[in-house]
């Protein structure tokens, strides 16, 4: 079950997907905010979102799981 990890530490600015959404390679799933800059996080492989582990405003560390995709 592929997990989308946070590549940098920051705050979750926007969550663009919900559980059950079909996603494809390179879709924007989450936008993180770090040092006042928005960084979109892209999907690594296609599938269905089975779990969203963060909500807007959460702070995340590098390596934290953001989204789980089946």
């Amino acid at each position: 079950m592929p997990e989308l990890l946070a590549p940098i530490a920051g705050n979750v600015w926007k969550v663009l997907v919900a559980v059950g959404d079909k996603v494809e390679l390179d879709d924007e799933l989450i936008i993180l905010e770090a040092l006042k800059m928005e960084t979109p996080i892209y999907c690594d492989d296609g599938g269905t979102v089975s779990e969203v582990r963060v909500k807007e405003g959460d702070s995340v560390n590098e390596g934290d799981v953001l989204v789980v995709i089946d």
Partner: protein, 372 residues
């Protein structure tokens, strides 16, 4: 009756206005516009712009030595070198040296970018500036406002307004100035290099860093002491975790208070008489040159390091070796993600970026030691 009226007219500032004053008003209005409408470094540009305006209103004597209000701010704050170190205290309490501790070789990038300073120093000498002036202009390439003010106020106080404004202006213009240079000096392939996760940094390392760095730098270049001691004290406040109140006071209240007096005093040095000379225009040109050369030097340094490294670094992070925290790191991140959307260079670029702050202070201290 007529005499009273005449007296009133002659004692008003309006009759003493010069054309130069009017030009400075215009400069002030442009800076106010950039600060308010474009939000270019508004925290500094706004008080600077207002400072320019008020000292170009004749007969107010705000900058009259031993007499004017703003002169006291300038004298005690800047001439006696109190404000720049206090700003550094606040910066220290805000800066996260973690990425530098995790990847200490990025210190070389922060040092490499300072090569631009020395190139500009010699260029300025060639163009007829004296050594003290040339050093003050060259330090603009370090893209660090307080250090520029610190050095200029000691070596060439008559240029203070010009060097400070150009340092802050170019910092705000990082996203415009740096990318062309980055693209010119790196290949598409290099920009795509993804860097692995930074190693975790322990609390003990974070606490030791400011103490060890302060000792090492001050033992090597004692003239760096005012800036480095305050920077590292602020950082120790932050990392020790036991004096949150002091850390917050240094990075918020104290920082904000001294910023007001810094901006106003710097602006107030820019009277028509000192500012409107061809020399000043040239400072802006040479400052830009310094900035561009420093960016290039950092990029080239990174490429040289790659010749020896097994795990290649993305050479873009070399451009963050100019201080401008965190603008330069943001810019690196953006250019990197344009080449490869899965490239997240932000934290990797923060290493050389914070190293650049230390590098610029050391460079300034060396210039000060030899020329002061």
């Amino acid at each position: 009756m007529l005499d009273i009226l005449k007296d009133l007219i002659y004692s008003s500032g309006a009759v003493s206005l010069t054309g130069g004053n009017l030009v400075m008003w215009l400069v002030s209005f442009v800076l106010l516009y950039l600060a308010i409408k474009k939000q270019y470094e508004p925290l500094l540009l706004l008080p600077i712009a207002f400072g320019i305006l008020i000292v170009n209103l004749p007969l107010t004597f705000l900058m009259e030595p031993e007499h004017g209000l703003v002169w006291f701010f300038y004298h005690y704050g800047i001439e006696l070198d109190i404000i720049p170190p206090l700003i550094f205290l606040g910066l220290g309490a805000m800066i996260d040296f973690g990425p530098l501790i995790a990847n200490p070789k990025t210190l070389l990038l922060g040092a490499g970018a300072q090569a631009g300073l020395y190139v500009t120093f010699f260029a300025a000498v060639l163009f007829g500036f004296d050594l003290q002036e040339a050093a003050s202009i060259a330090i603009i390439g370090g893209a660090d406002g307080p250090t520029t003010i610190f050095l200029t106020s000691k070596l060439a106080p008559h240029l203070l307004g010009a060097t400070a404004v150009s340092a802050y202006a170019y910092m705000a213009l990082v996203p415009i100035i740096q990318p062309p240079m980055m693209k010119l000096l790196t290949t598409e392939h290099e920009r795509k290099i993804v860097m692995g996760k930074l190693r975790p940094v322990s609390k003990l390392q974070r606490i030791c860093f400011p103490i060890v760095t302060a000792m090492a730098i001050m033992l090597m270049v004692p003239t760096a002491a005012p800036l480095i001691s305050m920077l590292m004290l602020g950082n120790l406040f932050k990392e020790s975790g036991v004096v949150e109140r002091l850390s917050k006071a240094a990075s918020n209240e104290l920082m904000n208070i001294v910023t007001i007096f810094l901006g106003l005093s710097v602006g107030a040095t820019m009277t028509a008489g000192t500012f409107l000379s061809p020399k000043v225009l040239f400072i802006f040109f040479l400052g830009l040159f310094a900035f561009i050369v420093s960016t290039g030097a950092g990029l080239i340094m990174a490429k040289v390091m790659n010749l020896f490294l097994k795990d290649k670094i993305n050479p873009l992070i070399g451009a963050a070796g100019v201080s401008a925290v965190p603008m330069a790191a943001r810019c690196v991140h953006k250019v990197g993600s344009e080449a490869n959307r899965r490239n997240y260079l932000l934290m990797h670029a923060m290493g050389p970026n914070v190293a650049g702050v230390i590098g610029t202070v050391v460079a300034a201290a060396i210039l000060l030691k030899n020329l002061g």
